[in-house]
């Protein structure tokens, strides 16, 4: 029985590169030495070359249909190439979208939590938070019992939520509108505790009313980070990872 070199420890990738004609310099001598001493490496090289040569003859299924366009296809189909082109134009930054987006969102959420625990939320800030919560979840956590800012929903918010407006029979125009982002739930959550006649509209617990001061920069920045992070995260996930690292 003849002694055979241990083929399993040989550099198969080097042989594949050699078979493709992609080996130069010192690697070339190493590859030729392997091919000269190992029959299996030589056989592998020949197989790889044969497979590469035969690949254009790989079977394909029959074309299933005629791809001619109908007028309806051309007129009704929305353009779906923009996202793809945008993704390609981002180049290597695409790989960073998901971690950067997740990081920004995390920092933003931490900022919001910090603001909440340190009492940086003013009345209006709480309203904004309620608004953000409702626009994300479709139903704000806030209720008419929680918020008493003295500010009514903006006309835009009310217009975007007619059903909420219908549920608010008498909404005073105090001039301090809520965010136009407010959806139906937010509009409802911003209902004032008092009716237009100045009488109590319901059993609203007494709570010190805060002036309609703007939210602190920390809160605004945190909300901005959360939103930007969420956008980047979504974009990164939808574009995938075309520019993957070497195999």
């Amino acid at each position: 029985m003849t002694e055979r070199p241990d083929h399993t420890s040989h550099d198969r990738l080097l042989i594949a590169a050699y078979a493709a004609g992609d080996v130069t310099g010192p690697d070339l001598a190493r590859a030729e030495a392997l091919l000269g001493s190992c029959h299996e490496c030589a056989e592998l090289r020949a197989d790889l070359a044969a497979i590469a040569q035969a690949t254009p003859a790989a079977a394909v299924p029959r074309r299933p249909r005629d791809f001619r366009l109908r007028p309806a296809d051309v007129e009704s189909a929305p353009s779906r190439g923009l996202v793809s082109r945008f993704g390609r134009s981002l180049g290597s930054f695409r790989r960073s979208l998901v971690p950067v987006g997740a990081g920004l969102a995390t920092i933003g959420i931490a900022g919001l939590l910090l603001a909440g625990t340190t009492g940086l939320f003013g009345g209006s800030s709480a309203a904004i938070l309620s608004t953000v919560g409702s626009s994300v979840g479709g139903n704000g956590y806030g209720s008419s019992r929680d918020v008493d800012t003295g500010g009514g929903p903006s006309p835009a918010a009310a217009a975007s939520a007619p059903e909420a407006s219908a549920m608010a029979p008498e909404v005073p125009d105090t001039g301090a509108g809520a965010s136009p982002l407010a959806g139906g739930g937010a509009a409802q959550s911003l209902l004032p505790a008092k009716g237009t006649d100045g009488q109590e509209a319901g059993p609203v617990p007494a709570r010190p009313s805060t002036p309609a001061a703007g939210p602190s920069p920390l809160v605004l920045g945190a909300i901005g980070l959360v939103l930007v992070g969420a956008v980047l995260l979504g974009l990164g996930l939808s574009l995938g990872n075309r520019a993957s690292p070497p195999d």
Binding site: A46, R63, L69, R80
Partner: protein, 202 residues
């Protein structure tokens, strides 16, 4: 060679005329282009996306994108321009497949699969060629999307390393690596059929 060159020139001239008419809003002219190139685009895309349903959608999307972007055609080969659009559509479909697993790969014994016609007149050689082409298709379908894309673009479509790097958005070294590793993976998948590639294949 001279005759082939003249035929190619005539085809290119015809394609450019159809593009001009299509740019003017003539959908029939564009559909003539579709008829001329749909077989090539189908074969290209279905090799990149080995699920016939998804490949079909990708080809349709490629033709729609081509129609919408006729203004972006800057001259040259219409076939190459369509091919690049189809490659992008196929890569989009590959990403979609990663999120949503494809239908199981169809059995290659299915008679809807067609080995390319070859010069073999001998039935035995024809049968061997058919078996080889089916085994190749199956191996190609079972390597990674990235490896398959690089191999199809290089071995089948004839793009060079730089063009593939540009099309796929990766480095030259990555393209080479994908081709080398992909061929090694195919060699492993073809272990039981390797006899079909020895002897008369080289």
């Amino acid at each position: 060679v001279e005759y082939a060159g003249r035929v190619e020139d005539a085809a290119q001239h015809r394609d450019l005329g159809l593009v001009e008419r299509a740019r003017a809003g003539d959908l029939d002219a564009f559909n003539e282009l579709v008829l001329l190139h749909q077989d090539h685009l189908w074969a290209l895309v279905v090799r990149l996306v080995p699920d016939p349903d998804q490949a079909s959608d990708a080809v349709q999307e490629a033709f729609l994108n081509a129609y919408r972007n006729l203004r972006s055609f800057r001259g040259g080969s219409v076939r190459s321009w369509l091919g690049r659009i189809a490659i992008n559509a196929a890569m989009d479909a590959q990403r979609f497949r990663k999120r949503r697993p494809a239908q199981p790969y169809p059995e290659l014994e299915d008679d809807t699969w067609q080995p390319p016609a070859g010069p073999e007149a001998d039935p035995e050689r024809s049968a061997m060629a058919a078996e080889r082409s089916r085994a190749l298709a199956e191996a190609l379908a079972n390597i990674t999307d990235d490896q398959r894309t690089a191999i199809v673009l290089f071995d089948v479509e004839g793009y060079d390393y730089h063009e593939i790097a540009e099309l796929t958005g990766v480095s030259l070294g990555t393209v080479k690596s994908r081709i080398h590793r992909g061929r090694l993976a195919m060699r492993g998948l073809l272990e039981d059929h390797i006899g079909l590639f020895r002897g008369d294949a080289g």
